[in-house]
Symmetry: C2
Subunit: 340 residues, 2 copies
């Protein structure tokens, strides 16, 4: 069984020889070869240059032979393709000119998403060529709700209130923004699938800022539209961080796999879901900053807890911390590979 087949089978809750493993943000600052490249090129330059994006995507595969690669990019390429540029400043995070009113929202232009994001398709094709059938390749995008939060705040914020304000106070305007985002994200993911993605992940990193009663209308239904637009061509993974009170709404998105953070017990979540919906996660990202012995123990515990349940992709419950050590990542991978 190849890594690629193992990953795709797990997504579809089909039998596997062992659970597949990849790590969110596996391509990036935890790797010395990434940091070396970063001395010569900015983050945005690496995202926009297919050769560099492909190289960064492949770095963790060469080092750890993960079952899946995820294309090196950023969720904010979609707002940029709609006409709202961003800068990423080291130590300062994301900066964008915020959308300030209905006119700014009306001005977002989704007519050229594929052309403007062609560099991502090029990177995916380069990676696909290199990986051949050996390793799965994941494409991704931010969820409409999460992108709307960033676009209205103009980047990261202590408290994401602006999208909520429109959601509660001006629903028609909120829906106009969501429709534009939903269409652009659908188009973008479609393009990534055509360029060779075996699966796509939708990151609703800010879904957990929403009240449980608001999640479906503010986020879930738009994700569902995106999933539907992809017509089951590849498995869709939906990771709505902090959304632990809306499993039914998440299942209703049509996702094949749900990402799960570290604040809930994975076997409990898995057994609550329909038998054909898989789970991905949910180790505390902190553990990969401890020691190999702790990483191995925690990973073994998770694997033992999930034994006998199909549809489990091993991952952290959020992105890999830049402070993770290589030996800890290796301990996590080795433990999964040795599990029987």
């Amino acid at each position: 069984m190849t890594n690629r087949q193992r990953f795709i089978n797990a997504c579809r809750c089909q039998p596997v020889d062992r659970p597949p493993i990849w790590i969110m943000r596996q391509a990036g600052r935890a790797l010395p070869e990434y940091r070396a490249l970063k001395e010569k090129h900015s983050f945005v330059e690496m995202v926009r240059t297919p050769d560099l994006a492909a190289e960064v995507t492949l770095q963790p595969i060469r080092r750890f032979d993960f079952d899946a690669a995820i294309v090196f990019s950023d969720i904010l390429v979609v707002p940029e393709a709609l006409g709202q540029p961003y800068q990423f400043q080291d130590g300062k995070g994301i900066e964008m000119t915020p959308l300030r009113n209905a006119e700014d929202i009306a001005r977002l232009d989704g007519s050229a998403v594929r052309e403007r994001l062609d560099y991502v398709a090029k990177a995916l094709r380069l990676v696909r060529e290199n990986l051949k059938d050996r390793t799965a390749l994941i494409g991704f995008a931010g969820a409409p709700w999460t992108l709307a939060c960033f676009m209205l705040e103009g980047g990261g914020a202590d408290d994401y209130t602006k999208a909520k304000r429109i959601f509660y106070s001006d629903r028609p305007l909120f829906e106009r923004l969501m429709k534009k985002l939903t269409a652009a994200i659908s188009e973008y993911l479609q393009m990534q699938i055509e360029a060779g993605a075996d699966a796509v992940q939708i990151f609703d990193s800010l879904g957990g800022t929403l009240a449980s009663d608001a999640f479906e209308a503010a986020s879930g239904r738009w994700i569902a539209e995106i999933v539907q637009s992809l017509k089951s061509r590849v498995p869709v993974i939906v990771f709505a961080r902090g959304v632990n009170g809306n499993w039914n709404d998440l299942v209703a998105t049509g996702a094949q796999v749900l990402g799960v953070d570290w604040t809930v017990r994975l076997p409990e979540v898995r057994t609550r879901l329909p038998h054909n919906v898989g789970v991905q996660g949910n180790l505390d990202p902190f553990i990969v900053t401890t020691t190999p012995a702790i990483v191995a123990a925690e990973t073994r515990r998770l694997l033992a807890d999930m034994r006998g349940l199909t549809g489990h992709i091993v991952n952290l419950g959020h992105g890999l911390p830049p402070t993770a050590s290589l030996e800890n990542i290796a301990a996590m991978v080795d433990t999964v590979r040795a599990f029987a």
Copy 2:
């Protein structure tokens, strides 16, 4: 039925004429009378001066006639009483000299908690005298886990890793710190009960940073020890924000009432709990920054969802935002009062 009786009955899952209401952080920056006082006195000065703390505690009661008052204080008075002082700087948050090693932890001195926190007892007695039997009075403390996080980081942090590091890597040292905190918090809450508190709330604001599998050992068992030490003299409310995968562990603390944030559905949580454990929350704090009509609609929806379930205390799912408007707070209170 007095406000006080209504609140106590709801804590004990006994019959009430309508659900009681109070709001976390109801005493504070949302009120103009607080801001006026704040021009003359610093936050720390108000916390430490019984007359001022009592006045600030009573301000929201005068204005909104809440069913319960909560003493104006801060969870960091306990580290201070153990010998680790803090400053609170407007716009900059909390600053403390962090605990750096085992010696710093050994140096924490719990022998004078009552003496050093006598100003809180004095404030409680003043408030109790003023409220008489009309309004319930709540005392509070931070949970050991949450206090440990702040004490080791030296204040607020983007990512609370230092307490986790000790928890995973040096369990005996972690337990020494927890034992000191547990003893000090028990003593402190005991003192608040003697000074007139009708109930006490334990805030585990950072409980949600823990992996579900770690919560019991890192936080829950220490809260349980505190609850046990209070011998059911008054109801204990435990609010572990973001801890939505550990309801059994939270019930096992012995809490009479569990605080619930806004990311889960309150009736679902209530029906999962034993019939004698109540719930408190869970409106999205954001709504009190919108309009009275939206506040009224959301509050009515919550009340309708909870109809027929005993043991519900209406509250937000986290503290009152400073940007809440007075008319929105009034709309929330009026809606609860009019509910039948």
